[in-house]
């Protein structure tokens, strides 16, 4: 009797009727995400969640790796009110857009203030829109400066505290090394979202801003922003980088650094582990890391990055979705991810965790950077504004003869037109 049972079940499976049978017993939770760097950690975590919640099956849909591309996939699904989407990952710049469009579920009912206080402030503020919270941060990123400790020590140059110092340091090392393969600085200057992160670090580090959030007008045409952009074009790209950086996203710029061909490198925290892994890097053990420079010492600004979980407003099982989000962003899961990848957790308590401190001592020293990192301004019209800024930055960097002041005025005018769309936004 017991041996006869699997056969009809198997047949049903083959006939494709299994959906109906599985449905009768289990609840599916649909989760759109990218491919994790350490899939086994996620697999084990999700298996644990399913064990704790009998009858629940988490169905993962793996989307593209690029932020821009997964954004387009998610907005397609949400725009069509796809009920087969419960939980999704969000880049740090999306929560207010998803909130404004009515796609993300406000989580305050579940994610109460005392619970939020256990997280770092900057990533929480990036998830707030008009007094409500729309996402739970999973890990946090901030721009950092990596450098070749061996080369700096060899030529008795100290790690730079300002951008002009960095340019001078790079020129000194380049002049003494006389290595045609070596460049001074590698970062992300392709026309894409990363360009905005990079440029905002110079602009804010110079006391400027992308736009004025009280008056809701662009600030790109103001002196501090203009001077910062001019510095990048004339001194960073003109003097110590090669023009190839104008086509670089993170992986290309990192490859240059780990290949031993760049003295300085701006990137996110995940680079530390890769640059020091002899299997992936020619410069393992020769790498230094420091907060980004400013235009005067101690005034450096790091762009805040990182990823969060959101819940779709069209989800038919928000309570279950919350249980999943809460599990995935809980101490246990964040610790596992941190230990596996060196990604910076969003829960403040984990920076005191002995195991994490033992394996990634640098995280502790970065806490100050994470606390001070500045999110890109939150607004539902972030994407159109970003496209205008990308166009402006890329034009003035890639075409050295353009008039920065003129281009900035045009970009500011375009940005103001987009910001004006928010003027007749209904009051809360």
């Amino acid at each position: 009797m017991s041996t006869a049972k699997p056969i009809p079940l198997f047949l049903a499976f083959v006939l494709g009727v299994h959906c109906a049978i599985v449905h009768a017993q289990t609840t599916e939770l649909r989760f759109v995400t990218w491919r994790a760097e350490t899939p086994e950690v996620w697999d084990r975590g999700i298996a644990d969640f399913e064990r704790q919640n009998p009858g629940v099956k988490v169905v993962r849909e793996i989307g593209p790796q690029s932020s821009t591309q997964i954004h387009d996939l998610l907005t397609q699904k949400l725009k069509n009110r796809d009920t087969r989407l419960d939980v999704f990952v969000m880049d740090v710049i999306w929560p207010s857009e998803f909130a404004s469009a009515g796609w993300a579920l406000p989580l305050d009912r579940y994610f109460t203030a005392p619970e939020r206080d256990k997280f770092l402030k900057a990533p929480i503020s990036a998830n707030r829109y008009r007094g409500q919270t729309f996402g739970v941060p999973l890990f946090v990123d901030a721009g950092l400066l990596y450098y070749r400790q061996d080369l700096l020590e060899k030529h008795k140059v100290s790690p730079p505290r300002t951008w002009p110092e960095l340019v001078e340091a790079a020129k000194t090392v380049l002049a003494r090394e006389q290595d045609p393969q070596l460049v001074g600085f590698s970062a992300q200057f392709k026309q894409y979202e990363g360009l905005v992160c990079n440029m905002m670090e110079y602009i804010l580090g110079n006391g400027g801003g992308l736009w004025d959030e009280t008056r809701m007008v662009s600030a790109l045409d103001r002196p501090a922003a203009l001077a910062a952009v001019r510095f990048v074009r004339d001194r960073i790209i003109g003097e110590i980088s090669h023009r190839g950086v104008l086509a670089y996203e993170e992986p290309e710029s990192l490859a240059l650094f780990t290949g031993g061909r760049a003295i300085f490198h701006r990137n996110w925290p995940y680079v530390w582990a890769i640059a020091n892994d002899p299997n992936q890097s020619k410069i393992a053990g020769k790498v230094g890391m420091t907060p980004l420079p400013g235009f005067s010492p101690g005034q450096g600004v790091a762009a805040l990055g990182g990823w969060q979980f959101g819940i779709s407003r069209y989800s038919s099982r928000p309570d279950l979705a919350w249980r999943f989000v809460s599990f995935m962003t809980g101490e246990g899961m964040q610790k596992r991810i941190a230990l596996a990848t060196g990604r910076a957790p969003t829960r403040a308590s984990l920076y005191e965790d002995p195991e994490i401190k033992g394996k990634f001592p640098q995280l502790q020293s970065l806490l100050a950077t994470f606390k001070q990192a500045v999110p890109r301004p939150t607004t539902p019209v972030y994407v159109p504004l970003s496209n205008i800024m990308q166009r402006y930055f890329s034009s003035v960097l890639a075409l050295p003869n353009t008039n920065i002041d003129q281009r900035a005025v045009l970009a500011a005018r375009d940005m103001n037109r987009v910001l004006d769309l928010l003027r007749d936004r209904p009051a809360l």
């Binding site: 393969q181 026309q191 104008l246 539902p380």
Partner: protein, 295 residues
């Protein structure tokens, strides 16, 4: 009789439904949306009928104008070269030699590879550190390596090169079909009259090939007007917006920025342009065919 007509209708119905659902409906819907202001991320604005405002905005939008210019440049450079190379390849493949069948298949490979894959490949080929192009030009002298995709002009040329590589086989295929339709008798007669190879090509091949060339031109123009995937993979429209072609701009407006009305206006414009070009070509095509049948 009536019965068989009804049966025919039933058989045709699926195709009508299919074409209606997947071709007519989206076109009509894009057309309709292009007259509205619809911004997904700002739902309180609603869906407001704005007449031709999206189109007047489009005309005065400098980014759209540049995108139009980039698209036009892309078409006018790539298509003549594709036809020229395609003609050359077709003439070679039309000769009888050993391994011709194999070569005909091999030539089609660039066309058969999905564009997303070949774009990725071309991105590597033009890479500034390990790209094949740099290696061929400068060998081991890496200090002279060029970052083609980081330069506004070279980035456009790179994309054009990839497009020409990818679609020349298609042009060659159509032209080859045209060549095979030309009777050998004509060449034999010309040989008897003492015509040189060039004279045969100039006075027999080329005139009789006109329909095939026009057809290739028509298909290639419509296709090149809609160039998207190469840009999406290789440059994302940059640097300095140099490769921001119309379709990519429309895509960004619609899907990244959520400006559905404006994006639809761009899509409709591209559609109208390819429709107009197709009609113009078809007119020329028809007259040339009439001439062809009455030598």
């Amino acid at each position: 009789m009536k019965n068989s007509a009804r049966a025919a209708l039933y058989f045709l119905l699926p195709s009508f439904v299919f074409v209606g659902l997947f071709s007519i409906f989206p076109i009509v819907e894009s057309f309709r949306l292009s007259f509205y202001r619809l911004i997904l991320i700002l739902p309180w604005l609603g869906q407001k009928m704005v007449g031709i405002e999206n189109y007047t905005d489009l005309v005065s939008d400098p980014v759209a104008r540049d995108a139009f210019g980039a698209t036009l440049l892309f078409i006018t450079v790539t298509i003549p070269l594709e036809l020229l190379f395609g003609l050359g390849i077709a003439l070679i493949l039309n000769q009888t030699f050993r391994g011709r069948g194999l070569l005909r298949a091999v030539v089609l490979i660039p066309w058969a590879i999905p564009t997303v894959v070949s774009s990725q490949m071309w991105r590597f080929i033009f890479n500034d550190r390990y790209g094949l192009v740099n290696f061929l030009l400068f060998g081991a002298d890496t200090s002279r390596y060029i970052a083609a995709l980081a330069d506004p002009y070279l980035a456009m040329i790179s994309i054009m090169a990839a497009e020409i590589w990818k679609t020349t086989p298609f042009a060659a295929l159509i032209i080859l079909a045209g060549l095979q339709g030309i009777s050998d008798d004509l060449y034999e007669a010309a040989s008897v009259d003492g015509a040189s190879s060039w004279q045969k090509f100039r006075h027999i091949t080329l005139p009789l090939l006109k329909p095939a060339l026009l057809l290739a031109l028509l298909f290639r123009t419509i296709d090149a007007l809609r160039v998207f995937d190469l840009v999406y993979v290789m440059t994302q429209g940059g640097p300095a917006d140099a490769t921001n072609v119309l379709q990519f701009y429309g895509y960004k407006k619609t899907f990244a920025e959520g400006m559905v009305g404006y994006g639809s206006a761009i899509a409709v414009t591209v559609f109208a342009m390819s429709l107009a070009l197709s009609l113009a070509y078809l007119r020329v095509f028809r007259t040339s065919r009439l001439q062809g049948s009455n030598p």
